[in-house]
Every structure is written in structure tokens, then in C-alpha cells.
């Protein structure tokens, strides 16, 4: 899962060497509220799911939880 998300994030940020952990926050990645919507759309397409995002979704770990719950 983390691997797939890393690959989506690398494409999203245009940075092939990007490394993230579950603790990495969107803020650290420079992903604002608008970017996070685009990111969620890419993830939904990749996994063919619908994700519930909330204000509590702030880290990659939170994102993985939302994907698991979908």
C-alpha cells in the first residue's frame, strides 16, 4: 500500500526520489487542501474506490486508514 501511494505521490509531485512514511504529513509534502483533492482523485482511480476525506486526514497513515475503510 505504502509503495503504491509513494508511486502516486512521486508522479503527483514530479519527484522520482520522494520517500514517505506513514508519519509523513501532507503539510510536510507541501500538499494543500486543493492538492489533496486531486491526490484523492488519483488514488480513487488507482484503487477503484471512493474515499471519505475529512479534516482529520493529515498524514499518509491517515490516508491509508481511509483507503482501508473504503
Amino acid at each position: 500500500m505504502l509503495e503504491k501511494i509513494t508511486s502516486i505521490l512521486r508522479e503527483f509531485k514530479g519527484d522520482d526520489s520522494l520517500v514517505v512514511t506513514e508519519e509523513t504529513t501532507f503539510e510536510e509534502l507541501g500538499i494543500d487542501s486543493l492538492d489533496s483533492v486531486e491526490l484523492v482523485m488519483s488514488i480513487e482511480d488507482e484503487f477503484d474506490i471512493t474515499i471519505e476525506m475529512s479534516a482529520d486526514t493529515q498524514s499518509i497513515g491517515d490516508l491509508i486508514k481511509s483507503i482501508d475503510a473504503a
Binding site: 507541501g30 494543500d32 487542501s33 486543493l34 483533492v37 486531486e38 482523485m41 471512493t50 476525506m53
Partner: protein, 315 residues
């Protein structure tokens, strides 16, 4: 006359929204546009909730027609203003410069029609999922905060992506623009720059003069490095901002600080040196100051004429 589903939805006569221009779109302009049959908007910008509250009261004194409030989500007052508009039950809320997800339920529950400004199909789809009433698909021709995609490319893609009414914005200042937007699948338009020169617009005369004088190539987008580009008229100050963006000796914080307050200086004081005169690429088309009513009447009669002629192409 040209009416669309949007007119019924928003209880307006013409499918024309006035852009929520920060420091510029106040109660007198919003009320004038609404009285003329469009939908006027009060821009909250970075102002306080108290300011917005006074403007809502003033607009209600000036018109009994529906009007809206535009909330700039990057403002630190966004949350307080979000709660204020819910309490006041304004007819329409439009949002810009961010994701409105934390507030949409609050507004819908208050009976408010929620219309986020979107610059991508992704945000448009998400807005539909959140329960938005419509979206404003705003192309990069617009003034102020802009996205990457042009109106011509964005509007049909947003129309295909969602089932909500789509309002086209960016590059529209006459009836041809309205007709074109409808042809792209939009149910209405949002017009900003042209209303800047409305008689009822309280912006400084220097600002209006600059719009009237502007040519097609007279705008520039700055702030791309900071992740939130802004389109404004070329001035010594905007050129300076533009060049400093490519100067690696200047930090992002310094760059951010440089632009702070510059729109207010332009709007309120007409400061030709340090002001940032936000305007869309269509400024070059705008040639005269008119009342809001004359602007809307002109726009709609031109649109009607253009649309009538359009049928001849199909034969």
C-alpha cells in the same frame, strides 16, 4: 431572453454572476448587479467577519433580490465568516482559493446554495459529492487567483465530469463570451473584470482607468512559485514581483511578504507604484464605464444576438 436552469435555481433573471473580487466587490456593487437581474456577490477576501456582516446588512437594505457572499478560503477569517453566512442565511455562497469541504454541510443545512469555484475536474467531482449546488469552472484567463487550465479547455471537461450546473468564468466580458460559454455546456457565466468598471463599483478611479486602457497582452501571472498564482495588470510592481520569482536569493517568505496588501493599495488608493491591479485577460475588451444594469443589458442582448446567428451555422 436567454434564461437557463441556473436562473430558476438561483432565482435570478439572467444567468450572470458577478465575480467575488476581494477589496472591490462590496454591498453597493452586489446590490446593483442583483437589482439588474444578475447575482451580485460580496467578497469577504481577507476582511473580518464584522465587515462582512455590515456588508450583508447594507446589501439587504439596497436590494430585495438574492445575492451571495464569496469566501476566500485561504483567509484566516474563513471559519468565522463561514459561520456568519450560515447564521445570516445568505442566498448563495461561492468559495475560492481552497477546498470548502469543512463548511459545505453547515451551509446546505442553512438552506444556502453553495457554489465552489473550481479549476479542475477533480475538485468539481468532489464538490458534487459534498452536495454543492453548482460549480464555477474558472479558467486561467481570470483575474486574481487562478488555476492552470484555460476556460475553453476547462468548461467542457467539467461539464462532462459532473451533473451539476456549471458556471463558466475567465475571459468573459461580452455577449459573445456568454454565448460561447453556453455552447461549451455552461448554464451561466461569472463576470469579474467588466464589473470593475461599473459606476456602482467603489474601486479607485485609477483602477478603472487602467482596465479601460489595458490591451490584450497587459496582464501577467505572478506567484506561481508560491503555489497560488495571481493574474494582474502589468505595472512596475507586478513586473518586479515576476522577476523576483526567478531570483533564488529571495525566499518564499520574502516573496509572500512583498505581495501582501498590494491589492488593497490598488483598490482603495489607486497606488500606481505599489498596488497590484488584479484583472483578467479580457480587460483589453472593456472600453467604457457603465452602470451594472447597462452592463448586464448589453451582455444579454449581445448574447441573444450571437446565439440567434449561431443557428445559421447548423444549416
Amino acid at each position: 431572453m436567454t434564461t437557463t436552469e441556473l436562473c430558476n435555481l438561483l432565482e435570478i433573471e439572467y444567468p450572470v454572476l458577478q465575480g467575488g473580487m476581494a477589496w472591490i466587490a462590496d454591498a453597493p456593487l452586489a446590490a446593483a448587479v442583483s437589482n439588474a437581474g444578475g447575482l451580485g456577490l460580496i467578497a469577504a477576501g481577507v476582511s473580518s467577519a464584522e465587515y462582512v456582516s455590515e456588508q450583508i446588512k447594507e446589501a439587504r437594505r439596497l436590494t430585495d433580490k438574492p445575492f451571495g457572499v464569496n469566501i476566500m478560503l485561504m483567509s484566516r477569517n474563513a471559519e468565522a465568516i463561514a459561520e456568519l453566512v450560515a447564521k445570516e442565511k445568505v442566498a448563495v455562497v461561492t468559495t475560492g482559493a481552497g477546498s470548502p469541504s469543512p463548511y459545505i454541510k453547515l451551509w446546505i443545512d442553512a438552506g444556502i446554495k453553495v457554489i465552489p469555484v473550481v479549476a479542475s475536474t477533480g475538485l468539481a467531482k468532489m464538490a458534487q459529492r459534498w452536495g454543492a449546488t453548482a460549480v464555477i469552472a474558472e479558467g486561467s484567463e481570470s483575474g486574481g487567483h487562478i488555476g492552470e487550465t484555460s476556460t475553453m479547455a476547462l468548461v467542457p471537461q467539467v461539464c462532462d465530469a459532473i451533473s451539476l450546473p456549471v458556471i463558466a468564468a475567465g475571459g468573459i466580458a461580452d455577449g459573445r463570451g456568454i454565448a460561447a460559454a453556453l455552447m461549451l455546456g455552461a448554464a451561466g457565466v461569472q463576470v469579474g473584470t467588466r464589473f470593475l468598471v461599473a459606476h456602482e463599483c467603489s474601486v479607485h478611479q485609477n483602477y478603472k482607468d487602467k482596465i479601460i486602457k489595458a490591451k490584450d497582452i497587459d496582464t501577467v501571472a505572478t506567484g506561481k512559485r508560491l503555489g497560488h498564482p495571481i493574474r494582474s495588470l502589468k505595472t512596475p510592481f507586478s513586473r518586479e514581483l515576476y522577476s523576483k520569482e526567478y531570483d533564488s536569493n529571495i525566499s518564499n517568505q520574502e516573496l509572500e511578504a512583498l505581495g501582501k496588501g498590494a491589492l488593497k493599495l490598488a483598490a482603495e488608493e489607486g497606488d500606481l507604484q505599489q498596488g497590484l491591479f488584479m484583472a483578467g485577460q479580457i480587460a483589453g475588451l472593456i472600453k467604457e464605464e457603465q452602470s451594472a444594469q447597462a452592463i448586464i443589458e448589453t451582455l444579454m442582448s449581445e448574447a441573444q444576438a450571437t446565439l440567434s446567428r449561431a443557428a445559421s451555422w447548423a444549416n
